[in-house]
């Protein structure tokens, strides 16, 4: 498969729908944080939706992924039910993980999401190991590890790059470079470059416009095809801008590490508009209306869902009880 093979209306519609789904989900989730329905706050992925949409559009349903603290987009793009996901964020019993995981762990294991991880970089070796095991079993399934620019400074991530390359794990390493790790700029934190780090291990690596769902899809499709064919890992560094706070905590604390002007400039290229412009206006508004109804229903579901029973707080602590 080569890069952008030209307009594909079905794909464009699909990509737009995912970007808009994630955008609408995050907007509502932030509102629910403000309303006190979602405890603990969230790390919104607003502005970064094209990466989740593009990468997941290149996957088969039986492929795997690992997600992060900013992971709602990845999990929704893999097909999670927005209502059960919102219920998870609200800590309710019908949530994806029965309210035990919350925003940072709102994974859907039934869809091949092997966890959303609150520890930066921690999931990269998990994805690599899963990918390696699939290949060892003779399967052509692949795994994707999503991680931020901050994660490339974790030793374990670089160790995972080495293992993945050495053992040809069919893993696609997707770095969402949103310019910041909390308040720290990528340029102040990464010596050399993200691409250079992958290449040092012999891992092919390329820069991708992470605001363009089509471009992400095309790059991911190539990397996935390579992994399926036994070619080993590929790294994609997707340039994006985080539109919202690092964490909703910032909405009140306002640590002020970037100016309003810089934020406005960063928001100028909006994946929702990039992809929306590829649809006929009538088509776009129909999708928007469908998603509004779906997501409003998800909010209603989450608000009305029962709370888990505190007496069962440690149910599932072990897979098998001893004694």
């Amino acid at each position: 498969m080569t890069a952008d093979a030209g307009p594909d209306p079905d794909l464009d519609l699909d990509l737009y729908r995912t970007v808009a789904l994630v955008r609408g989900f995050e907007r509502r989730a932030v509102e629910l944080v403000r309303a006190g329905v979602v405890p603990g706050g969230i790390h919104p992925c607003t502005g970064q939706e094209a990466v989740a949409a593009g990468v997941c559009a290149a996957l088969r349903p039986d492929d795997l992924l690992t997600s992060t603290h900013r992971g709602h987009g990845h999990v929704l793009a893999k097909g999670a039910d927005p209502a059960r996901m919102m219920a998870e964020l609200a800590g309710r019993e019908p949530g994806l993980n029965r309210g035990r995981g919350g925003s940072m762990h709102a994974a859907d294991f039934s869809l091949g999401v092997l966890g959303a991880n609150a520890m930066v970089g921690a999931a990269v070796p998990i994805a690599a190991g899963a990918a390696w095991a699939l290949r060892r079993a003779g399967s052509d399934r692949v795994a994707v590890a999503f991680f931020g620019d901050g994660a490339v400074n974790q030793g374990v991530v670089l160790e995972a790059f080495n293992l993945a390359a050495l053992w040809r794990a069919p893993v696609v390493l997707v770095c969402e470079n949103n310019g910041f790790a909390t308040s720290m700029r990528t340029a102040d934190a990464v010596a050399g470059s993200v691409l250079g780090r992958a290449r040092a291990f012999g891992i092919p690596a390329r820069a991708v416009d992470g605001t363009d769902p089509r471009a992400v899809r095309a790059a991911a499709a190539e990397a996935v095809a390579r992994a399926r064919a036994g070619g080993g890992p590929t790294l994609l560094e997707c340039a994006v801008y985080r539109f919202d706070a690092h964490h909703t905590w910032e909405h009140t604390a306002r640590p002020g590490y970037r100016s309003a002007a810089e934020e406005a400039a960063g928001r100028a290229r909006d994946p929702l508009e990039v992809q929306g412009a590829r649809l006929a206006p009538g088509v776009r508004s129909a999708v928007d209306a469908e998603l509004d109804a779906l997501l409003d229903a998800a909010v209603e579901f989450a608000r009305g869902a029962p709370h888990p029973d505190p007496a069962a707080a440690l149910e599932h602590l072990y897979a098998t009880e001893v004694g």
Binding site: G101, G102, G121, P255
Partner: protein, 329 residues
């Protein structure tokens, strides 16, 4: 008298010590914008060479501090979340901690590790809600858990001045505590010395960190019926065994209120220490997190796993036979 908040006390101790001793510096994530508030204003005051924003490389910057300490600096390393200690456990427990002995006393590692917001912050879920002070006490790293603003000030000062690695846990549940203090009276609080917050004769409640305030509230509630002594070890390792023994001689009964998982937790050490001493008048009790707890996200479930007043009341009732069953954890 002016009010001092716990967070402000940490901020002031660090600022005062940096002003006094130019070898003190700070390493951590987002410390320049002071995400935790502990380092607020410090980069302006002392410059970026002494307040370093590090990339997300905890293992490296923890041992980086060890290296800097070996050649004369006294770094404070701030960790954003308590579970980062699992990541940097090798660097603290197996590296920094062992230098003194393995060098035959020829080298020392004066590093302070600060955990602002340890324990549950409610709804931060399984990977961000641990309270692993017991692990450090177990391996023998000096471990401090201040409960009050003046102790936070004084213990952080002592930790910074100590020539060994010291881990300072500032429990999330204590960060908002405020206290009337005379700023002139603030000073170092010695490591290894406990504090009796309230004297009593019927039962000693050993409480750690934010739970000291829960214990004091329960003691007040029971006043007139049960005379509760509240003993705060402040330093978990080395433990003030003499102070604990003196309290137990007065009361003869013991309940420990500890935000650790029960099995092999800090409370177990207190109970064992008491069991090795003179016979108690009643079997001691501990009120802790459940065995092996992983805190669930949903707030009511998170709370259900944390030790608190209801459990303490019940335990005091059992130990003294004075009050009826309370219930709770």
């Amino acid at each position: 008298m002016p009010k001092l908040s716990y967070l402000k006390a940490l901020n002031r101790a660090l600022g005062d010590e940096m002003a006094r001793d130019p070898s003190v510096c700070v390493l951590g994530e987002d410390v320049r914008v002071a995400v935790s508030n502990v380092t607020a204003g410090l980069v302006k005051r002392f410059g970026p060479e002494r307040v370093l924003d590090a990339p997300i490389s905890e293992q490296a910057f923890t041992s980086f501090a060890t290296g800097a300490a070996l050649v004369g600096l006294r770094p404070l390393v701030e960790f954003q979340i308590p579970s980062l200690l699992f990541l940097a456990f090798e660097q603290i427990a197996n590296q920094a901690h062992k230098v003194s002995l393995m060098s035959g006393g020829r080298a020392r590692v004066p590093v302070t590790y600060l955990l602002p917001g340890s324990g549950s912050r409610e709804a931060w879920a399984g990977q961000h809600s641990d309270h692993p002070y017991g692990l450090f006490a177990h391996v023998g790293v000096k471990t401090v858990v201040p409960a009050t603003p003046s102790d936070a000030y004084g213990l952080l000062l002592s930790a910074l001045r100590d020539d060994d690695p010291v881990v300072v846990f500032a429990p999330a549940g204590a960060l908002g505590v405020r206290e009337d203090v005379d700023p002139a009276a603030l000073g170092p609080v010695p490591l290894g010395r406990g504090r009796v917050h309230r004297a009593g004769t019927d039962v000693t409640v050993v409480a750690v960190g934010h739970l000291v305030h829960e214990a004091l509230a329960v003691a007040e509630e029971l006043a007139g019926r049960v005379s509760v002594e509240v003993f705060d070890p402040r330093t978990l390792h080395p433990l003030d065994r003499a102070g604990l023994a003196a309290s137990l001689r007065r009361t003869g009964r013991l309940v420990v209120l500890d935000d650790s998982n029960r099995s092999c937790g800090f409370a177990a050490e207190v109970l064992a220490t008491a069991a090795e001493g003179p016979r108690l008048r009643a079997a001691p009790r501990r009120v802790t997190r459940p065995d092996g707890a992983v805190l669930p996200f949903a707030p009511a479930l998170d709370r259900a796993c944390q030790p608190g007043r209801a459990g303490l009341l019940a335990a005091i009732g059992e130990v003294t036979g004075v009050i009826e069953e309370g219930g709770g954890t």
